[in-house]
């Protein structure tokens, strides 16, 4: 009974994670400018990472695999936002301005 509950739980997590991944991908493709695309990609990425790895950890149970999954998750959560930050920063310094309103005029 508990096992199936854990299963259901992890399926839900994995499913939502997958949905977030897809949303992020679509966002990165469809949104109008760089900063919005970055926004879409990085936010969903973090969420999806947490959800998917949590789901897999539930599946793995208490084992070495779970530990490794946790490690991967932690590293991804550290590196992905850092990369996004560095990217945004580099873009900003190069003179590319985020626009105040969506589709707004250049300042």
């Amino acid at each position: 009974m508990i096992e199936s509950a854990v299963d259901v739980m992890s399926w839900i997590l994995l499913f939502t994670g997958g949905a977030f991944v897809l949303i992020g991908g679509i966002g990165a493709l469809r949104l109008p400018n760089f900063y919005t695309r970055l926004h879409a990609a990085s936010l969903t990425e973090t969420m999806a990472t947490i959800l998917i790895f949590a789901g897999m950890i539930l599946q793995a149970g208490l084992s070495l695999a779970a530990l490794k999954l946790l490690a991967i998750m932690v590293f991804l959560l550290l590196t992905a936002p850092t990369a996004s930050y560095a990217l945004a920063n580099a873009a900003l310094q190069s003179g590319m301005r985020p626009e105040a309103e969506s589709g707004g005029e250049d300042t």
């Binding site: 897809l22 992020g24 679509i26 695309r37 990472t49 084992s63 991967i72 590196t79 990369a83 190069s94």
Partner: protein, 91 residues
């Protein structure tokens, strides 16, 4: 379930690749490369589970660690050569 999930990731990889090809700025491409990297980590982790060999998570771990090096190197490069990188946005 894992199959569906990995297909979702694969589709996202396609989307990221399209973004990498389209540009239009260098930063978009870096963004796409970074996305592609993290999606690969996810894909590998999921496939390791799908194949029933979770001991191969090492690979995903290696990717997660290495990815940052690549992205930071690209950014470093852009900032080292600012003028030319700007000029080279469109192709």
């Amino acid at each position: 379930m894992y199959t569906v999930l990995s297909l979702a990731i694969l589709v996202t990889m396609v989307l990221a690749l399209v973004r990498a090809l389209r540009g239009p700025t260098v930063y978009d491409r870096v963004l796409a490369v970074n996305m592609f990297g993290t999606k690969t980590v996810l894909l590998l982790a999921v496939i390791a589970f799908l194949f029933g060999r979770p001991d191969f998570l090492d690979l995903a771990l290696a990717y997660a660690l290495i990815n940052l090096v690549g992205v930071l190197a690209v950014l470093e490069f852009i900032q080292k050569k600012p003028r030319k990188a700007e000029a080279a946005d469109h192709d």
